[in-house]
Symmetry: C2
Subunit: 159 residues, 2 copies
């Protein structure tokens, strides 16, 4: 058991972690685990984020997606700025309990800071090719105007 | 451009990375990026894995999912041991190009080394609770017998 987070059990055996019913999550050296967020209605992957212990505990307790923002280095209640809150319909954890899958309903329908519904709005053509393959836009238009929603907040994308 | 991987463009601007059509992926300090793999047929998240440059290049070239195995520290052609090869139907990259989404068809239907179809076979009940919440199994039975398929290969789960 973790004193600060009594909902997290200590990891004691592979069998407990893989086949048991105790929540015994594993965070990486930075205290984070990756999170896949999909739309409950149609299975589209909206984003890939990260949670620390606090974010996972808050998400479970409140039923609203909380992440850890690596660019801002802080707890991030998704939608606090944009209004695009993610209501968690189901939360799943993987075999070795070091990754989470959130199935969500999104207020406003969009999750990507660029303005698209999904962060994964471009596909990569498959097959051998000369040089770099040209990405294809799979969403035809943005769902919202990021400048209107975020104003002059710093862009989280880093080169 | 990357001399060893001419399909990867150099990252030059946020606009290029987010709004452009060049594949300019970003790998973390360990040379990896996270990968979400979903079943093309119904959107179930099958697994969360990692790719290095070689794995991403091979996946694009061959149309079969390749990952980097962190436990074995080697390129991992998924299904090479188990036969559960993942045929990539679509490959997407996210806004800042540091995560991949694979939509796949799986030979044999399963992707989890424990024997379930999805690695995310347990859900976590939401809401405030005393102590640790009891995980709920969302898959009723294993799809295959891991001992038959993997024999005595070491279990990748680490405590």
């Amino acid at each position: 058991m973790n004193d600060k987070y009594p909902m997290f059990a200590a990891r004691q055996s592979v069998e407990q972690v893989e086949e048991g019913t105790e929540l015994a999550p594993k965070f990486d050296a930075d205290g984070l685990m990756p999170v896949v967020t999909t739309a409950a209605e149609d299975g589209v992957v909206l984003m890939l984020g990260y949670m620390n212990r606090e974010a996972l505990a808050k998400t479970i307790e409140t039923g609203e997606a909380h992440y850890y923002s690596r660019s801002r280095q802080t707890l991030w209640h998704k939608g606090a700025t944009s209004g695009l809150v993610q209501k968690v319909i189901e939360l799943r954890i993987d075999d070795d309990q070091d990754a989470v899958w959130l199935l969500v309903d999104v207020a406003g329908g969009a999750s990507c800071h660029v303005g698209y519904r999904s962060c994964f709005y471009r596909s990569v053509p498959l097959g051998k090719a000369e040089g770099s393959p040209a990405l294809k836009f799979e969403e035809q238009a943005k769902t919202f105007d990021p400048v209107e929603v975020y104003g002059d907040a710093p862009n989280p994308t880093k080169l």
